[in-house]
Symmetry: none
Subunit: 206 residues, 4 copies
DNA sequence: TATGAATGAGCATTCATTCAT
DNA sequence: TATGAATGAATGCTCATTCAT
């Protein structure tokens, strides 16, 4: 429980976050992480069972933090529903840009192998909770009552968000720069989406 | 440049395409490709400098083929503009699902290393050409004259498409199954998008 | 199928045999074997799937050869039954001394883990066949008809043989030296055993 | 040399004995021993130079205890000489089964490395003393005067004992189960041996 | 053109051991 | 006396790549 211990742990976590984000989970080696963290590679195993466990422990707090932030926006009654959806989306976007690796591994569960052998329930759970918040926001914004419809529209909105991400995420720019560049596109997307949904539902009714 | 030579080259290309698509670039070994191609793994090096080079050379024809298909749809005057956009999108989707690996490596240039060391100009070029076709289709469909506006709207449409892809691409289902599952979502997305854009532009004008 | 290939394979086999015998399976590393064989450790994997597979492939021919030798003695009608048993025993002894590692790993299946995960059926099969030959020889020699009794006596004879082995096997002497030293002990043992069995059975009958 | 100190030492010794017996020397880690002993793995190094040293120090008392037990039986004049031999043998057998690891490492000095680097004189000494007790028991039982003859017969008896052991020792059964299974075989062996020796000596005399 | 043989660099992981407190 | 923190050396194994023919 010494101070030294926690420092090292944090150094490893920091190094891993940085490297995973930059190069992707598979491409990073334990020795690289150790070097970046300024310790021996065996030291990592003092704090984390194995490589995948390191990734998971590294991801959970971030995801939980994101979820908290979304919840907060969601429950803030002073914001109009359309603005709420936008605010949540922006939060989601900037989180994903900041945590590129987690994004690709967990949000999209890209790296097949990982989730097959390792259900990583915790991560999937929080992912579903985040998606549920999004459904709520979309339902509220579009005044949808039917849950099937809400799901369908949220899905395409969610895909659009992720589409923006995958296209920009790999770029070697700072999060700030990226957010600045992305904002107009994102705003247009959100507005178009909302208008499109309303229009589409009108037609469906008649 | 005998006949035999070209046959072997094609066999390798075919095998690599198949395996990369199925398992992803990293997960496939040169020996596997050779086995599938029915030659020795050393033979591959006669035709391709290294593994990454194989991937690149392998991608170009596919991309060119996709481009041709899109052009054909684009220049077919018998199809209504909205249907044209949808048809092109479906073509794009099924191409990406069929070539999951190229998709992730080239369309999105996801895997950092690749594009750092190797600008892969050719690939980027064709990628831009494909995007231009999409801009045309969107412009036509939404009757946009201004190229800036066209770009902005196409962008969000393109992101939405890619968003659908990244979310589904990793799933271990056949392309047919995936296309069937995706079609309703995709149709809803396309219609919502078109309606949304029209509505948005109306508002912008007034 | 080149000449080089078989040479290397044999070199590896030779090196492994030598090292396994000297230090035991677990204590020998693939790198050591490679060094002794004069090749890279990766080369070993060209010829043998993994370490355990190397051990098995290395053992089978020897065991088969031993079995053939025992069969030959067994079916030689010109030898008296007591001499036959002795001859077979001597063959078994010298085989085990020459192949110390196989002896400990397979005949006694000492290294628990190995045979749990890997039934190594082949090896167990031949081991049982060898034991069966021994039962025949003992039965013939002691004129035992009942198979239960034959088994019981063979068992204690077999244990005695192995007892001699385990006690001497580890010594760093040549097989010839060992055999010379062991022969009187072994002869005494065999004779005592035969006499003892006969006497014991007499008593049992009365 | 406080009381605490000796307690810890004993705890380590106890833990190591238990684990070595159960899993074998190589398979046990210092951390495991420490956990079982309820101390830090670094503490072990306060009391024992290294792992092998721990094994050696741990074995001596056990061997000494075995020796004492054998002496007691040996000097008990109320038991007939044949029964004495059997009783001592059974003691030896159950000791070896209970201490599989010590048995293989020290009695038979199986694991090459150990005795090369470390003559472990103490252990060999006690081993010889135990063997001498066995010679006495055999001499008495067979009424042998000549020490050469006594040695020869004891040797084959000892080998038979060890042969039984090596064949059964590796099995994953409890000592009780094993002893039960082994007793008939062992009794038959002992009786056959005694009868055989007597018979053999008769012949030798005439 | 083609390939079997061979290899160096690298991987995640484990372990006995030492250092600093 | 005791220990948490840290590590170097090693292990089995894989892979893209090169060499010699």
């Amino acid at each position: 429980m010494g101070k030294r211990s926690e420092e090292t742990r944090q150094a490893i976590l920091l190094a891993a976050t940085k490297l995973f984000s930059k190069k992707g989970y598979e491409a990073v080696t334990m020795r690289e992480i150790a070097k970046e963290a300024g310790c021996s590679h065996t030291t990592i195993y003092l704090y984390f069972k194995d490589k995948i466990s390191l990734l998971q422990q590294l991801s959970m707090p971030s995801l939980q933090h994101l979820y908290q932030q979304l919840k907060e926006i969601s429950s803030d009654e002073s914001i109009a529903s359309a603005e709420k959806l936008k605010a949540m989306s922006r939060q989601y976007l900037s989180f994903c840009l900041e945590n590129q690796n987690m994004y690709s591994v967990f949000i999209n569960a890209r790296s097949g192998r990982v989730d097959e052998e390792n259900p990583s329930l915790e991560v999937n759970q929080i992912r579903n909770m985040i998606f549920k918040e999004l459904i709520n926001a979309v339902s509220e914004c579009l005044e949808i009552k039917d849950s099937e419809t809400a799901l369908a529209y949220t899905r395409i909105y969610y895909y659009s968000l992720n589409g923006i991400l995958t296209t920009y995420a790999y770029m070697h720019e700072s999060v700030e720069e990226l957010m600045e560049r992305l904002t107009p596109t994102f705003d247009l997307m959100a507005e178009t989406f909302i208008l499109g949904c309303i229009e589409k539902m009108k037609k469906g009714e008649s």
